[in-house]
């Protein structure tokens, strides 16, 4: 009987707590009514949350630095919170808690999984939070207002493909390193890259793609394996950061300086390897700082000025940019090598 009494005590505790909840909020389920509706708000009151795929990745830190600077200039509050692991369920939980928190006007999120985040982002929109995706997108465009990125995934992938083809003069063998399979943007980039190679440079042999999952150490190990398994490897193409560092390290350690290391990384991070005489490292990214800054600007313009971006518009100050559907893109791929790496500071 003692155990039943204990269970009863626990149940009573629950009833106490949740009964309290029932009293304070007579409503049912989802609609925690709050502010943040369609009207424009004053700058000082705007609360924006920037949520990366995972905390601690250098590229996201760079995005945040640029975004914070711009947010300070505009006078709005920008919080930077994200999951401690690259785990979609953790990110979903975070967004849910933001909804509960009730004081977020806009969420700028880079989804860890293009599918898993859809239901909760829709929930967020229903609760009055303006949702924008940046750097990577969700598969359902009704789950967010706009997707902001520096260049279309297809354009990026095609550029990579073209550059690879040119660098190898149409013949050779390459390895492809990507981040994680569930990232929509990375997958699209790779598809475009593979298509260009298949169609325009059919003599280039492509080994099966490997995934580093956002871990530089893993990228290093994967590239070592690539080098060992393919003594005739000419180039390693890296689509997602921080893989390029791992690749450069692996090539450096192997002493095979004829292998070109090409792909996504921030200039500052890869500079050391780029400047080495025994390595041939070429970077292909986009202006991270501009994206971070302009993402905040766009969010601000939507919330404070009620701006809408329609098909065919361009972003103020960026004549090369375009709006395709709900995708705001700056169409600016950035390639750099040892001669130009010093031009950039991010």
């Amino acid at each position: 009987m003692k155990k039943v009494k204990q269970l009863t005590a626990v149940i009573l505790a629950f009833v106490l707590v949740f009964g309290l909840a029932g009293c304070t909020r007579g409503g049912a389920g989802e609609k925690d009514s709050k502010s943040g509706s369609a009207e424009t708000k004053k700058a000082e009151d705007l609360k924006v949350v920037m949520m990366p795929k995972v905390m601690g990745m250098p590229i996201f830190e760079s995005y945040y630095n640029a975004a914070k600077e711009q947010a300070d200039d505009l006078g709005i509050t920008l919080d930077y919170i994200g999951p401690s692991e690259l785990d979609a369920s953790k990110q979903v939980n975070l967004v849910q808690d933001l909804i509960s928190g009730g004081d977020t006007d806009a969420l700028l999120i880079c989804p860890a999984d293009g599918e898993a985040l859809v239901p909760v982002l829709k929930e967020a929109m229903d609760a009055g939070i303006h949702v924008y995706t940046w750097d990577d997108d969700v598969v359902d465009e009704t789950a967010r207002e706009y997707f902001i990125n520096m260049c279309g995934d297809k354009i990026y992938g095609e550029q990579m493909g073209k550059t690879i083809g040119e660098m190898l003069e149409g013949k050779g063998k390459i390895g492809v390193v990507n981040g994680n399979m569930t990232a929509t943007s990375l997958t699209l980039k790779e598809e475009a890259l593979q298509d260009v190679l298949k169609n325009e440079f059919p003599d280039i042999e492509v080994t099966p793609t490997v995934y580093h999952g956002g871990d530089q150490q893993k990228a290093y190990a994967l590239c070592q394996d690539l080098l060992t398994a393919n003594p005739d490897l000419d180039l390693i193409a890296v689509i997602a950061t921080p893989g390029l560092l791992g690749a450069a390290q692996a090539v450096d350690a192997s002493g095979r300086s004829e292998v070109i290391v090409y792909g996504a990384e921030q200039p500052n991070n890869i500079k050391e390897y780029m400047m080495k005489d025994n390595l041939n490292v070429v970077g292909c990214l986009w202006d991270v700082m501009t994206l971070g800054k302009e993402a905040v600007n766009i969010v601000y313009s939507c919330l404070a000025d009620g701006k809408e971006y329609k098909e065919g518009d361009t972003v103020e100050g960026y004549p090369e940019s375009s709006v395709i559907g709900t995708n705001i893109t700056f169409n600016a791929v950035l390639e750099f090598d040892k001669d130009t790496v010093d031009d950039y500071n991010f």
């Binding site: 005590a9 309290l20 609609k31 909804i99």
Partner: protein, 323 residues
Amino acid sequence: MKKITKNLDGNDRLLLIVFLGLTIFLTVTTPEFLAFGNLMRILQQMCELGIVSLGIMLVILTGGFDMSSSAMIGMTSVMVGVLFKGGLNIWASVLISLAAALLAGFFNGWLVGELKIAPMLATLGTMTLYQGIALALSKGDAISGFPEGFLMLGQGYLAGIPLQLFLLAGLVILMSVVMNKGRFGRKVYLLGSGPVGSRFAGINVKKTIILCYASAALLAGLSGVVVTSRLATARADAGASYMFEGVAAVMLGGTDLAGGSGKVSGTIIGVLVFAILGNGLNLNKISSLKRQMLIGIVLLAVLLIRQFSGKLKERRMISGQNK
């Protein structure tokens, strides 16, 4: 306070204090905490961990340890996805995947109970095996495109209450009854207190162990189904952090890692404490990185208090002061 909780021993009292203390603290500092929607979301989020923690507790009660629970979640998740994508009806996929989890659990139990391999070693090996199966079947891919009906389990609400909570509640009641009323429960506790003594007491040690590991695997499998439904994706790494989090919750709930004592209610409160703590941190926009630290601090604090109060009780008992 002591009078009201007279029937609870020190362990449970401490846990209840921590739980209520945390709840009251958050209610006062973070008004949005007590909102019905937020509480329901907490419950929705903690169900997956709650379900697998029940299984983790069960195995720990036998004096063993199942390292493969997270891998089981991932494997079940992937199987559901692969079978469904292969053309099978979603619910058939779920049933077959659960059956596979059960089988895997029997395998775990057989290694520990029949071959008498140390539980941690055996399940470390099976963990790697199940992870591998999950990765191989899924090819590292996440599978999605599940039907609405299936997604309701993880994302739906009935009268404002998340659906998976009903599943958890049912499992909690079932397990409480089995552990407290049935003969099986007594056997498990006895086993945890000492396998040699249990054998002399006439308990079929092997059978009990196998059943425990199988049940734990099935529970992990159920958790995997819920995760898959909530995220609408089948992933090999689903629930990857749940094993450690589950063990922490079970320990917080008062289960002795050496086996032999522990309550279902304790485990559930343990899971709730972590869920509420996490929610409180998120609501206050405190970095996830600090969250790990805080969870560790709470866990250690409770364990230390328990250790010291245990020693205190011992000393009192010895000097005849304990009432």
